[in-house]
């Protein structure tokens, strides 16, 4: 996908650009708000990574608001050292689609970027059934089957599986799961998510010959055939 990266710190910019290029994405870079705005309004991108505090007179949120007021609906992921809840809320209010606070891990950023682009593509058609390999879930009757065999899940386990299936083939981080499944926005000290994933695995993977939920080291989890 085509990514526009607007970030003034060269180290961070190179780090992100390199990582995304390695993952096979096309990255355009801008070091200040003006240049970033010009690129964003001239070209079409799949996603924009936008730093909030930018030199050159055009601040990140201002840039975002201007883009949105011009009808540009490219998904925007805000990247900022301003990590307060209030700052996040301000970022999302201005039209941002996701918010990652610095310092961040690359895998977190990448996972969120891909989720964002996917969400943007999928939004059009509402789904009633999801399937990965021989695993399929029905969103209306809230039932789960693997290889024709019915699996009983707790409501929360169902939502966890649904979230993973909606992000099939993508890395989802623990933070994304905590936010997306439980709607919690804090940082637990213990491995709460790992425990819930392991419970889910007990039910959907263990009785079968090959695993669908994979652990991605230093990043999170991925559901894949």
């Amino acid at each position: 996908m085509r990514v526009l990266l607007i970030e003034d710190d060269q180290t961070v910019r190179n780090f992100v650009a390199k990582g995304l290029s390695e993952a096979g994405h096309l990255v355009e870079q801008a070091a200040d708000g003006k240049q970033g705005f010009t690129l964003a309004s001239q070209d079409k991108f799949d996603v924009i990574i936008l730093d909030r505090m930018l030199p050159g007179g055009v601040e990140g949120l201002h840039l975002l608001e201007t883009l949105r007021s011009e009808g540009n609906l490219t998904p925007v992921l805000l990247l900022s050292a301003l990590a307060d809840v209030d700052e996040k809320v301000a970022g999302l209010k201005a039209g941002g689609d996701d918010y990652v606070s610095k310092p961040f891990s690359f895998s977190e950023l990448q996972a969120r970027l891909e989720a964002l682009v996917r969400r943007n593509r999928n939004e059009a058609q509402p789904l009633t059934k999801l399937s990965v390999g021989d695993l399929e879930i029905d969103l209306l009757s809230r039932s789960v089957r693997r290889g024709g065999q019915k699996i009983d899940l707790q409501p929360r386990e169902f939502r966890l599986l649904e979230f993973l299936m909606r992000h099939t083939g993508q890395v989802v981080t623990r933070t994304m799961l905590l936010e997306g499944v439980w709607d919690y926005h804090f940082d637990p000290q213990t491995n709460v998510i790992d425990v819930h994933i392991s419970r889910l695995r007990q039910k959907i993977d263990k009785p079968f010959d090959h695993a669908l939920v994979h652990t991605i080291r230093n990043a999170g989890y991925m559901l894949q055939e």
Binding site: P103, F186, P188, V195
Partner: protein
């Protein structure tokens, strides 16, 4: 801010006070004296004019009845009876001849219109001032009536002299009084100034002397002293926290540094190098976590997050948290028991309550040995005084574990930032968890209690159910 030593300066407030006092004093003295001066002189003038007018009335009547001879007679009589020796009369004929009177000749600068005039007149070889007025009579006769006012001039001079002397005295008094006012003022200010100067230079133990009379100055001194007490308490807190920050951030930074340096020197394979770098990243993430927790505590303590307060069901929030942690507890071979009511409406910040509870449950699970149990309960306590709106009922949340617990000295300090009990040193953690809980509970107007549970720890949170926003910050 530059510190200024006391001395005589133009900008000195005490000097200004003195000057203002002097100026006010002088102005009021001058006003008073002028009033006396004008009053006295005016009264004298008025008397002279009155007596001239009475004379004139008599003479004009005489003129009307008896003509020239009668008037000549009257003037002679009047002059003969003039005991004060200050009357002046002069009657002249149309051709300018002087018919009667006590002036040698008609005054040169006399005004023929009927105006009051002050003229110098020659009498007995002496040039004196006289108040005069001229009347034109029928047939071009002219009559001048006047009074020698040299006596009045003397009084006027005397008064003027007195006024000048008084002005001098008033001036001296004003300056002296101003000086006294300035000194008094300076004494008050300097007592405060000396103390604050000492404090500015770093001596936080100094306090302003209180005279004990309970006057306004004592009030000011007491207020300043209280302010100083609070500042020094806060400074101690900051000092302690910044020491701890420096120390507790050093540990993960030192680890990361050691790992990186060790890898740089000794790593033989790419794999070993990567492992070391990953470990260093984990340690740096720890540093970030500590910074974030500190910022959050500071933000909560500043009370700025009240804007996120809303009504929510505390019971279901707690149930959800219990569900999240129940799995973790099970993995540690612990049982998480809950005793929650159906509904528990509450006004507050839901995300913060989740955070607080997560911290407490994290701790409980971390410090409990296997096969134990942890209990989470919440209940609404009846108000202390029934049917009193002021005493809204209290919600009590309790988390009881049977872990390693804490000794009494540690219990008292457990919610301080960075405090870690001796026995907890070897477990992962930053020592900020309970400090954050404490800040969150206080923001909601509640209290956090830590008590023994032989063995284990009881964490109790009491928060007012119908949360009334207090003005306390």
């Amino acid at each position: 801010m530059p510190t200024r030593l006391p001395g005589v300066r133009i900008q000195s407030v005490s000097l200004r006070f003195g000057i203002v006092y002097s100026v006010l004093f002088i102005i009021s003295a001058i006003l008073f004296l002028s009033f006396v001066w004008w009053g006295t002189i005016g009264l004298l003038d008025q008397r002279v004019r009155h007596s001239i007018a009475v004379d004139a009335h008599a003479m004009l009547t005489e003129w009307a009845h008896e003509g020239v001879p009668g008037l000549e007679n009257l003037i002679s009589n009047r002059l003969a009876q003039d005991i004060d020796d200050n009357a002046i009369y002069l009657l002249s004929a149309p051709d300018g001849r002087l018919l009667a009177g006590n002036l040698a000749h008609w005054p040169a600068r006399v005004d023929h219109a009927m105006h009051w005039q002050t003229l110098p007149v020659l009498r007995d070889g002496q040039l004196n001032l006289a108040q005069t007025r001229v009347w034109m009579l029928d047939g071009n006769y002219r009559l001048l009536i006047g009074r020698d006012i040299s006596a009045r001039t003397q009084i006027q001079r005397m008064l003027t002299d007195a006024m000048l002397w008084t002005c001098l005295m008033v001036g001296l008094l004003a300056i002296g009084g101003g000086w006294v006012v300035r000194t008094l003022f300076r004494q008050i200010i300097h007592s405060i100034n000396r103390t604050t100067l000492a404090i500015t230079q770093g001596d936080m133990s100094r306090r302003i002397a209180v005279s004990g009379t309970g006057d306004e100055l004592d009030d000011v001194a007491l207020t300043i002293n209280q302010m100083l007490d609070r500042i020094s308490r806060l400074m101690d807190g900051v000092k302690q926290v910044s020491n701890s920050i420096a120390h507790d951030l050093r540990t993960p930074i030192a680890r990361a540094r050691a790992e990186l340096e060790d890898a740089s020197r000794h790593a033989t394979s790419e794999q070993a190098l990567r492992a070391a770098i990953d470990q260093a990243v984990v340690n740096l993430d720890n540093v970030t976590g500590i910074c974030e927790a500190l910022l959050r505590i500071a933000q909560i303590e500043a009370g700025t997050r009240r804007s996120a307060f809303a009504t929510f069901d505390l019971a279901s929030t707690l149930r959800d948290m219990a569900e999240l942690y129940e799995a973790v507890a099970e993995e540690h071979e612990l049982k998480l028991l809950t005793d929650l009511p159906e509904h528990l409406p509450f006004m507050g910040d839901q995300a913060m309550f989740q955070q607080a509870l997560a911290n407490i449950l994290d701790n409980a699970i971390k410090f409990s040995p296997p096969h134990g149990s942890i209990s989470l309960s919440a209940q609404k306590l009846p108000p202390a005084i029934p049917n009193d709106r002021e005493w809204a009922s209290t919600i009590r949340i309790k988390v009881i574990d049977c872990g390693i617990g804490m000794n009494s000295a540690d219990l008292a300090r457990a919610s301080e930032r960075f405090f870690r009990a001796e026995r907890a040193r070897n477990t992962p953690g930053s020592g900020l968890g309970l400090a954050l809980v404490q800040a969150i509970v206080e923001l909601h107007g509640g209290t956090l209690y830590l008590t023994h549970n032989t063995p284990g720890l009881v964490v109790t949170i009491d928060v007012p159910a119908l949360h009334v926003l207090s003005d306390k910050t």
